[in-house]
Amino acid sequence: MHLNEEELEVLRIIENNSRIDLKDLAKMTDLSEADIEITLKKLEDMRVIVRYLTVINWTKVDEYHGVTAMIDVKVTPKRGVGFDEVAKRIYKFKEVQSVYLMSGVYDLSVIVEGRSMNEVASFVSEKLSTLDSVISTTTHFIMKKYKHDGTIFDQTEEDKRIVVSP
């Protein structure tokens, strides 16, 4: 679908800060608050805006014990439905955070989160690799997140400019 420049601009802004005030959003664009509300509603209805999320650096939280793995999955596509059916069987598991169809040596990239390596390992061996269409899996555990969704986690770049300049 085609979006106009204002709709694109709203998307670009809220992609970086979905908590922005409607009032501020209106001030930053050529739209009124009422227009912004209509635009957001429209984009939500079209599922262009799918969900509003927060990027959290959980490693800073002592109470958090999660692990994340990226799993390369080779599958046999099925006549008529291709990869969609097996992708659906996989993405319905609540442990699965993301599923992407990939070009290259494997077919699906599956991101799985669990409370421990054991939990992820048993998900892979019991649930994922036992699916009929799955030929093989290769599991990579994430050791450290430096940058996620365009955000650098320990960014501390301060303003180095002099306070007043011509």
Partner: protein
């Protein structure tokens, strides 16, 4: 014994920049939110920085040709053609300089005979008039008015021309007003300039930061290419102020004169910065687009906020400055800026440092993060409530 001064009279008589004084005041205070910065808040993109690092690793540490790396001039030539539809030969019409400042300096020095006049359109960048003086010329200032959105009118230009006038120095989009001249306005000015056989020094350093109308280069106006010296650079468009890299495009005769000055006084622009600039032109245009969008949002935000709090502000078409009127507070620009700094710790630049007609205004740079802008605006609103009944 009374010692005579060692300093040249010309330099001794130059007024120090009014910005300096403000810098000293603001730099000594804690917790200042500054809208006084005349440079992008972005750090140069990593791709450009990485290209510079790589050039050092590769050992590119010697001089380049006086006019700059041929490859860079060639890219600049392509860039000028593509962005602004003006053509300059990399062979003999483009010089890579140490910032747009040096470009201005050699432009003025290469055209001025002692006593010739240059029309300087105020409010403007603080260095213009001193540079004219240092080049042996006489700056003749023209005061644009808020009522014309700080645009030079044909009548004003005509009135300022004398038999001694050599050139008109003009900056669009403008620092400090943000005013951008449209194509039609340029055509009207060009007619007068051609009639009087004058040159134009067109400072187009903010050309990439035009938010509403497409930017038109003075050199793109019919009959102006042969009488325009275009000043541009990488500082504002690619957030590369500290690299000190600009360039100047001009007709061959003037270019050759400028190159003489440049080769004797500067040799060449820094090699590492030239390699960075090459990367900027080759792969950096997407970043320029993103930065432009980001400034535009903040422009919209700050201008609406100023008008809401009673600081009347015209909508600046480009650059990253808002130039609201503070007349209704009854204060001078300097009083306003000093009080605002003392009471609310917000640094802005009093408009009069950019010329007489800047009095009654303050320059507020919106090249700051949204958080900083919002904080500054909150403090300014409180200030306005207190001082404006």
């Amino acid at each position: 014994m009374i010692k005579t001064s060692y300093v040249s009279r010309t330099i001794a008589e130059l007024k120090p920049s009014g910005i300096r004084r403000f810098f000293d005041m603001a730099a000594n205070l804690e917790g200042v939110v500054s809208l006084g910065v005349g440079e992008p808040d972005f750090v140069t993109s990593w791709a450009i920085r990485e290209a510079a690092i790589n050039s050092l690793e590769e050992g590119y540490t010697s001089y380049t040709a006086n006019a700059g790396l041929y490859e860079l001039r060639s890219e600049i030539s392509g860039y000028m053609e593509k962005q602004f539809h003006v053509s300059y030969s990399p062979e003999d019409q483009i010089i890579v300089t140490v910032g747009a400042s040096q470009a201005l300096d050699i432009a003025l020095r290469s055209i001025l005979n002692p006593g010739e006049e240059v029309i300087v359109v105020e409010p403007c960048f603080v260095a213009y008039a001193p540079l004219v003086t240092m080049a042996g010329g006489i700056p003749v200032t023209v005061q644009t008015s808020k009522d014309d959105d700080f645009k030079l009118t044909p009548g004003q230009l005509e009135a300022a021309i004398t038999p001694k006038t050599k050139a008109v120095l003009i900056c669009s989009p403008n620092n400090p007003t943000g005013t951008q001249l449209g194509q039609e306005e340029l055509v009207m000015l060009a007619d007068i300039i051609k009639k009087h056989d004058l040159l134009v020094i067109s400072d187009e350093i903010y050309a990439e930061l035009a938010y509403d109308e497409t930017f038109t280069s003075f050199a793109a106006i019919e009959g102006m290419h042969e009488r325009t010296i275009v000043i541009n650079g990488f500082s504002k468009s690619f957030a590369m102020t500290g690299w000190r890299l600009g360039f100047v495009c001009a007709p061959k005769e003037i270019s050759e004169a400028m190159l003489k000055l440049h080769q004797y006084a500067m040799m060449c622009a820094p090699t590492v910065a030239q390699h960075a600039a090459l990367e900027a032109l080759k792969h950096g245009m997407q970043d320029v687009e993103e930065m432009r969008r980001s400034y535009r949002r903040r422009r919209n935000y700050i201008v609406k906020s100023f008008n809401e709090m009673g600081l009347e502000c015209h909508n600046p078409g480009g650059a990253f400055y808002a130039f609201p009127s503070i007349e209704k507070t009854g204060m001078t620009s300097l009083e306003f800026a000093e009080k605002l700094l003392k009471e609310e710790l917000v640094a802005v630049v009093p408009g009069d440092v950019f010329g007489e007609s800047g009095e009654g205004h303050i320059r507020c740079s919106y090249a700051s993060s949204m958080e900083q802008l919002q904080e500054a605006l909150k403090r300014m609103e409180r200030f306005m409530k207190k001082h404006c009944k």
